[in-house]
Symmetry: C2
Subunit: 645 residues, 2 copies
C-alpha cells in the first residue's frame, strides 16, 4: 500500500454508460458530481445530435477530459477480409476520436465465432492496428472480456500485448472481468505500469449466474458489492499505473435513475475506494466544502478528509408530525413510558424521553416535506467531533441541508441521507454548541422510572426509494462509518422486500434499510405503504409489553396461526409460548441468540414503533416476522379506512 507521502494521483472518470439519459445529460451530470473526465461510450455518441467537435467543446466547457472512447469490438479475426474491414472500421473511429480530441480507444477481446486463438496472430493483427493508431497520434488499450471466445483473462491479454510489442498498444484492466472469473489480481503487479493504459472499476454482488448477464445488468459502483476492490486497486497502483480511476458500471437501476444523483453516488464510491486503498483522500480532491460554518471551507493540498466518525449511539430520532398525527404519536409514546420532558425554545418541537431514548416531535416540518402525516424526518448521531464528521460528510458529497438557527441555539449542520432523512452529528450534553439538548426548555413532567424500562433506540428503519438502495448502503458506510452488517430478502404479502442493516461494531447504532424491489406504492392495494419505524431496546420485553398494554398502547395484534406455527417449529416451553401469545409478542432465534419484539399500529402516517429485547448475540431484526407485521398493518388500514380490494 502506498503511503500518504507517496500517494498516487487521484483522477476520477466515469463511462457515460453508467448513468441515464442522453449524452448531454450524462456529461452535465458527471461534471456536476466532480468527475475529472469521462469515457465516451460509443452508443451514447451515436444517438446524439451533437457532433464530435461539439462534444469536445462541451466537455471543455464543463472541465471534463475525454479519457477513452469505447468499445471497439471483435477486431481480430481468422478471416483476412474481415481484418481489412475491421481496420477500415477503426480508421472511421479514429476520425471520430480526432474530432473528440481523445487519443485512447478500448479494443476488447473478440466474442465472434471467427475470433483468433493463436496469441502470435492476435498480436500481429493488433500490431497493425496500433501502428495505424500511432500514425494518427492515438493509442490502443486491449481488454480481455470475461466471456471472450478465446481471450478472457487479463494475463492472456498482457501476453498478447507484450508479444505485439508496440508503443501504442497497452492493456486495459477491468475489475469486473478479472474478479468475476476468480482470477488472482496479484499478477497485475508484474505488468509494467506504463503498459496499463487504462483502468476500469466496477463492483458487483456475488451472483451465481451467467457472467455476461451478471456484467450487463448487475454491476455496482465500488464499495457497493462484494469484490475486494481495495486489494485490486492496490495491485494496480503497485504496478505503477498513474492514469484515471474510471468507472464502468452496467446496472439496470442506475441506467434509469436521475443521472445527477447517480453521478454523485458514483463519485462518492471512487472517493471511498481510494480512501480504503490508500488510507486517506486529499480534501481538495473531494467534494467541495461549503456551508454556513466558518470552521471549514478552505482546503489545502496537504489536508485530508477526516476519517469516518465513530458513532456512540443515537442522540435522537425526529418525527415530522401534523395536527392529526402529532397527538396520536404523543399518546403512543406516553403509553410506551416516555415523558414529554422538553419543549424547544423557538420551534414547535417536543422532546420525549425515557432513559437514553429520545424522540423529537416536530410539528413545523410536517406539512410541506412530509405530506403523509407522520414520518421519520431526522436522526441525531452521537459523535465526539461533530465538526469533523460534518466536514467528511460534505467532502463525501452528502448534500448539506439549510438550517434555521435561533439566537443562542445549537448550530448543528445536517446532511441529507439518500431517502432525504436529515442526519445530524451531535454531542449531547457537551458544553458547546454541539449539544442540541440545551435548545429545549425542561418541562414539569417527572422523568422518573418508567415501568417499560426502554433504555435507548435499538434501530431506526428507513424505507428507501427503490433506486437508491445501493446508494444508501454506500452513504451509511462512507459518510457515517456504518458498513452493511446484515442483509435479507423477504417474500412479503405485497411483494419482495430487501433489507440491509448498517451498524457500528458495538451495535449502538443500527440503521435498517428496506426496499420494495418492484412495488412502487399501493397500485392495487392502496392501503399498503412502506412505513418506517423506530425500535426501542428493553431488558425485559415481557414486563414492557404488559406495561404497554396496561397503559393502552396500540399494540399490533398477532394472529393465533402465528403462535401455532411457532409451537410446531420451535417447541418452545409452554410458559414462553403462553407469554408470547398473551402479549402479541413475536419471536426469532438463531444459533447466536434470541429476539423478542412487539410492534404498534401505524400512527397517522407512515411511522410505527417497535420494542425489542436482544438475548445473547442475536444480530438480526426479526425480519422473518415482518410478513406477519405487514399483514396485520394491512388489516388495521382496512379497518380504519374501509379500503377493500
Amino acid at each position: 500500500m502506498a503511503t500518504a507521502t507517496s500517494r498516487p494521483p487521484l483522477r476520477t472518470a466515469i463511462a457515460t454508460v453508467c448513468i441515464s439519459g442522453t449524452l448531454e445529460d450524462k456529461l452535465a451530470a458527471a461534471a456536476a458530481a466532480g468527475f475529472d473526465g469521462v469515457e465516451i461510450f460509443e452508443p451514447d455518441f451515436v444517438v446524439s445530435s451533437s457532433s464530435a467537435r461539439e462534444v469536445r467543446q462541451r466537455c471543455a466547457d464543463l472541465g471534463l477530459s475525454i479519457d477513452l472512447y469505447q468499445p471497439f469490438r471483435d477486431f481480430d479475426s481468422t478471416d483476412p477480409a474481415q481484418v481489412e474491414l475491421n481496420l477500415r472500421r477503426a480508421d472511421r473511429k479514429f476520425d471520430v476520436m480526432e474530432a473528440l480530441g481523445t487519443d485512447l480507444i478500448l479494443v476488447c477481446s473478440a466474442v465472434s465465432p471467427t475470433a483468433v486463438d493463436d496469441n502470435a496472430v492476435i498480436a500481429e493483427q493488433l500490431h497493425r492496428l496500433a501502428e495505424r493508431a500511432r500514425q494518427r497520434g492515438m493509442r490502443i488499450s486491449y481488454e480481455a472480456l470475461a466471456w471472450g471466445t478465446k481471450v478472457n483473462t487479463y494475463d492472456r491479454s498482457w501476453d498478447i500485448v507484450r508479444a505485439a510489442d508496440h508503443p501504442a498498444l497497452g492493456v486495459c484492466l477491468d475489475s469486473f472481468h478479472i474478479l468475476s472469473r476468480g482470477s488472482d489480481p496479484a499478477g497485475i503487479e508484474q505488468i509494467p505500469g506504463e503498459k496499463i493504459f487504462f483502468l476500469q472499476l466496477a463492483d458487483a454482488p456475488f451472483m451465481n449466474m451467467d457472467v455476461l448477464q451478471w456484467s450487463r445488468h448487475h454491476r455496482l459502483f465500488p464499495e457497493q458489492g462484494t469484490f475486494d476492490l481495495p486489494a485490486f486497486l492496490g495491485h494496480v497502483l503497485t504496478a505503477g499505473y498513474t492514469g484515471p480511476l474510471s468507472l464502468e458500471v452496467f446496472n439496470d437501476v442506475f441506467r434509469q435513475s436521475d443521472p445527477g444523483r447517480a453521478a454523485v453516488d458514483a463519485h462518492r464510491s471512487l472517493l471511498a475506494l481510494y480512501e480504503s486503498t490508500v488510507g486517506s483522500v486529499p480534501l481538495d480532491r473531494a467534494g467541495s466544502v461549503t456551508g454556513d460554518s466558518g470552521a471549514v471551507g478552505t482546503s489545502g493540498s496537504d489536508r485530508q478528509v477526516p476519517p469516518a466518525p465513530e458513532l456512540g449511539g443515537f442522540a435522537f430520532a425526529e418525527l415530522a408530525v401534523d395536527d392529526e398525527s402529532g397527538p396520536a404519536v404523543a399518546a403512543t409514546l406516553s403509553c410506551l413510558g416516555f415523558v414529554h420532558s422538553g419543549q424547544h425554545r423557538s420551534k414547535p418541537v417536543q422532546l420525549w424521553s425515557q432513559g437514553d431514548a429520545r424522540v423529537l416531535l416536530n410539528a413545523a416540518r410536517g406539512l410541506d416535506e412530509h405530506p403523509t402525516g407522520a414520518a421519520v424526518a431526522a436522526i441525531g448521531f452521537e459523535t465526539r467531533d461533530p465538526a469533523a464528521a460534518a466536514v467528511r460528510a460534505q467532502a463525501m458529497l452528502a448534500p448539506l441541508l439549510p438550517r434555521r438557527v435561533g439566537a443562542g441555539e445549537a448550530d448543528l449542520s445536517a446532511v441529507a441521507a439518500p431517502d432525504e432523512t436529515a442526519v445530524f452529528f451531535c454531542r449531547t450534553g457537551a458544553a458547546d454548541a454541539s449539544s442540541w439538548i440545551g435548545d429545549f426548555e425542561p418541562t414539569a413532567a417527572a422523568a422518573g422510572t418508567s415501568p417499560l424500562g426502554l433504555r435507548r433506540i435499538d434501530h431506526v428503519a428507513l424505507t428507501q426509494p427503490y433506486d437508491r438502495f445501493d446508494e444508501a448502503s454506500l452513504f451509511f458506510r462512507c459518510v457515517l462509518g456504518l458498513p452493511t452488517r446484515h442483509s435479507s430478502e423477504i417474500a412479503a404479502p405485497f411483494g419482495l422486500v430487501r433489507n440491509r442493516t448498517a451498524a457500528n461494531v458495538d451495535g449502538s447504532v443500527r440503521i435498517g434499510m428496506t426496499v420494495s424491489v418492484l412495488r412502487r406504492g399501493g397500485q392495487w392495494a392502496p392501503g399498503v405503504t412502506d412505513p418506517q419505524h423506530v425500535a426501542f431496546a428493553t431488558d425485559d420485553i415481557v414486563a414492557a409489553a404488559r406495561a404497554a398494554v396496561a397503559a393502552g398502547a396500540p399494540v399490533l395484534p398477532v394472529p393465533a396461526n402465528y403462535y401455532d406455527d411457532l409451537d410446531a417449529r420451535l417447541a418452545l416451553p409452554a410458559e414462553q409460548l403462553a407469554a408470547l401469545r398473551e402479549l402479541n409478542l413475536l419471536y426469532d432465534r438463531t444459533s447466536d441468540g434470541e429476539f423478542w419484539h412487539f410492534y404498534t399500529a401505524v400512527l397517522g402516517g407512515r411511522v410505527f414503533f417497535e420494542v425489542v429485547q436482544r438475548i445473547g448475540d442475536y444480530q438480526g431484526y426479526g425480519e422473518v416476522n415482518s410478513p406477519v407485521r405487514m399483514a396485520a398493518h394491512r388489516r388495521q388500514r382496512r379497518a380504519t379506512t374501509s379500503i377493500s380490494s
Copy 2:
C-alpha cells in the same frame, strides 16, 4: 395424447403463493378467476387472522376446494432426535389440515445438512410419517426439490416412495423441479397414476443461473416460458394422473401485481396448456361466456372452445384523439399519402385509408379513456369467423368491452388486451354485420394512387404496463393465435427496454410489445414517455420518404453520428448511404435480409408513425435503431415543451 372422447378431467388449482396480497385477497381472486381449488401456501396462512375453520368456510363459500397444504420442509434427518421433533411438527400441521378440511400435505426433499442420503432410511422415515397421516385420514405427497441436498430428481423421489410402500404416501411432481434440471420427463409414464398424488405446473424462461434463485424469482405461468409443458403434461396424463392441474409459480412481478388480474392470467395459462396438450377445452370448463350477442352464451359438455382464429391481416388501427391531437394526426396521415375516405354515420370517427392500410381517428374516445392526447385505442383484425373468435376470446377469459351500436351498424364484440387496447374481430367487406366499414359514409376524397405507396399496416407496437408483459404474450398467443416470434432487449437511453413480437405465420399480423423493465414513467426525465406506434409497409422506402418529405411530413431527424457509425460498421455502397442520410432513414440487416425505415415525430400525445420496407426474409423491427429514435423523440419533446433536466 388422449383423444377428445377419452379426455382427461380438467380441474384447475392455484397455490396461493402465486399471487399477491393477504390470504383473503388470494382466495377471492382465485375464485373470481374460475379456479376449482387452491393449494394453501403455509406462510400465507400463518400471517392470516382467519382461523383454519374460517378459511375452510371461506373456501366453501367461494366454491374452492383446498387441494393441498404446503410445504413441509426438511423432514428426513440423520439425527434421530430431529426426526422425533419433525414428527411432532407434522402432528401440529395435521391439526391445521384437519381444521382446514384438507387431507394432502406436500413434503419436499430435505435441503438441510442433516439430510439423509440412504433411500432405505428416507423411506423408513417417510413410512412412519405416512402411517401417522393415515391414522388421521391424511396423505403425504413427496417432492424432490431441484436443489435438495440428496434427493433432487423425480426418479429418486419415486424410488423412495416405492420402497416405503405405504398407501398414504405418493409423489408430487413439479414441472419446474424436473425440467429445470434437464431431466427427461418421459420416465414419468412408468409411475402408476394413482401414486402421483399431486401435480404442480410452472413454466420459466431459460436462464443460466443458480436454480434456487431461478425458481424463487423467475417462474412463469404455463405457455409464458420456454419449457415444453404440453409434452410434460402429456407424460403425466399418460401415467394416469387424474388430480387437479395446479400452478405453483414464484415470480417477483406476479407477487406484487393486482391478484385479481394475475389469477385470470394464471387460469388462462392452464386452459391454454390443457388445449395444447389434449387438443381442445370443453366450453363449460372455460371462462363464462356472456355478452350481448345471443349467438353464444349457452354451453354443453360436448361443446369445445373454438380454436385460435387464423388472422388475415389488420382491418384497422384506431387512434383516440382529442381536439388538439386530432388535427395533428390527420395532417400527418395526409402527408403520408392517406386520404380521409369515410366518416362514421353516428360517431365522430374518421376513416383514413391508403391501399389496405386503414386508420380510424376517434374523437369520442379521447377524453376519458386516453387522457394523454393521442393513443392507440383499438385494433381490428381480419378473420373469417369473427363470432367464433369472440367466443374463444371470452372463453379464454378476455374481458368483454361494452359497446354502443347505432341502428343498422356493425355489431362487433370487442375484448380488452392486457394494456386495455380494444381488440375487434372483423370481416371487412363481408355482407353481414361483421363488416365494420359500412358504418362509414364515403367522403368525396379521391382514393387515387398515393405517391408513398403504403400498402398495409406492417405492425402495431403497444407499450405494456411493466407487470403485464408476460400476460400480454400469453394473451396474444392464446386469444389471437399469435405466438411470440421475436424478442430482444435494448439498453435504451432512459433504461432497459424489452421487446417481443407476436405474429402469425405469414407475417400479415405483427404486434410489438415493449416494456420498460424498471422505469415507471418520467421520474427524472418528464419528457420521456413510452409511445406507441403504427408502422406501414411500402415496397419503395426511398420513394415513400421523398414523397413524405415533399408533403411536409414531420419525419424524425436522425443524427449524422448514426450514419458515420453505419458507414464504419457496414461499409454500405456510397449511394445507399447518401440516400439514408438525406432522407433520415434508418437501416438494419441480418443474414435474413434488410430493413429500411423512418419515423415521424410523436404526435400530440403518445403516438407516432413508422414507414418500413422489408427486404428478403428480415423478421425484426429495427430494434437496434430504437435508441436513436428515443433520443431523437426526447430532443423534440425538449424543443417543444422546454423541459430540461
